[in-house]
């Protein structure tokens, strides 16, 4: 079965500090992986995506993520957070086969304190 686990429900960091959000996935085939962000009372916006190739992918607003097939992980990082990065972050899996939808993790709420 396909699944995504985000073990940290909530993370608090100070402005200017680094951020890492963890994501583990379960899928035996070729995964497409995404990180989406949801700002308060808004829809979801794509931060970055991984389809193949270089395991480190760059996204918007200084975010990057690293894919590891051996660890079944797709962790998100940012070197220096800003207060505007406070949001909910979702790690998302899409199976290669089939027209089914995305499989979401439960999300990590990030609070950036001044």
């Amino acid at each position: 079965a396909q699944s995504v686990t985000q073990p940290d429900a909530r993370v608090t960091v100070s402005e200017g500090a680094s951020l890492q959000l963890r994501c583990k996935y379960s899928y035996s085939g070729t995964p497409y992986l995404f990180w989406y962000v949801q700002y308060p009372r808004q829809g979801l916006q794509l931060l970055l995506k991984y389809y193949s190739g270089d395991p480190v992918v760059q996204g918007v607003n200084g975010f990057e993520a690293e894919f590891s097939k051996s660890n079944s992980s797709f962790h998100l990082r940012k070197a220096s957070v800003h207060w505007s990065d406070s949001a909910v972050y979702f790690c998302v899996l899409r199976a290669y086969q089939g027209g089914r939808a995305l499989i979401f993790g439960t999300g990590t709420t990030v609070s950036v304190s001044p």
Partner: protein, 115 residues
């Protein structure tokens, strides 16, 4: 120029009433999806569609119907709304299968409260 729009943005309904949530996309995507978002569950798939005239059941379809009358429009219908359907509903569109088409584009969401 928003590519995926939803209406209404907020809705209060009574138990047993009929609710229709509408979604429109200008991406010319074949696939459209309805999700609901609840605390602790992330987003869960209710129904999806591969194109006009088609609807498919997602992971949690009970109590919901869907309609895809055209490429652009996809509706979610609650024939007999219940308080357990209080949630935030998101519509999304996507191109299809395979590389380059996996990304989905989301609407702003509809907050539904069933009293």
């Amino acid at each position: 120029e928003a590519a995926v729009t939803q209406s209404p943005r907020n809705k209060v309904a009574v138990t047993g009433g009929k609710v229709t949530l509408s979604c429109n996309q200008t991406n010319n995507h074949n696939n459209m999806y309805w999700y609901r978002q609840d605390t602790g569950h992330g987003l869960r798939l209710i129904h999806y569609s591969y194109g006009a005239g088609s609807t498919e059941k997602g992971d949690i379809p009970d109590g919901y119907k869907a309609s895809r009358p055209s490429q652009e429009n996809f509706s979610l219908i609650l024939e007999l709304a219940t308080p357990s359907q209080t949630s935030v509903y998101f519509c999304a569109s996507g191109g299809g299968q395979g590389a380059g088409y996996a990304e989905q584009f989301f609407g702003p969401g509809t907050r539904l409260t069933v009293l």
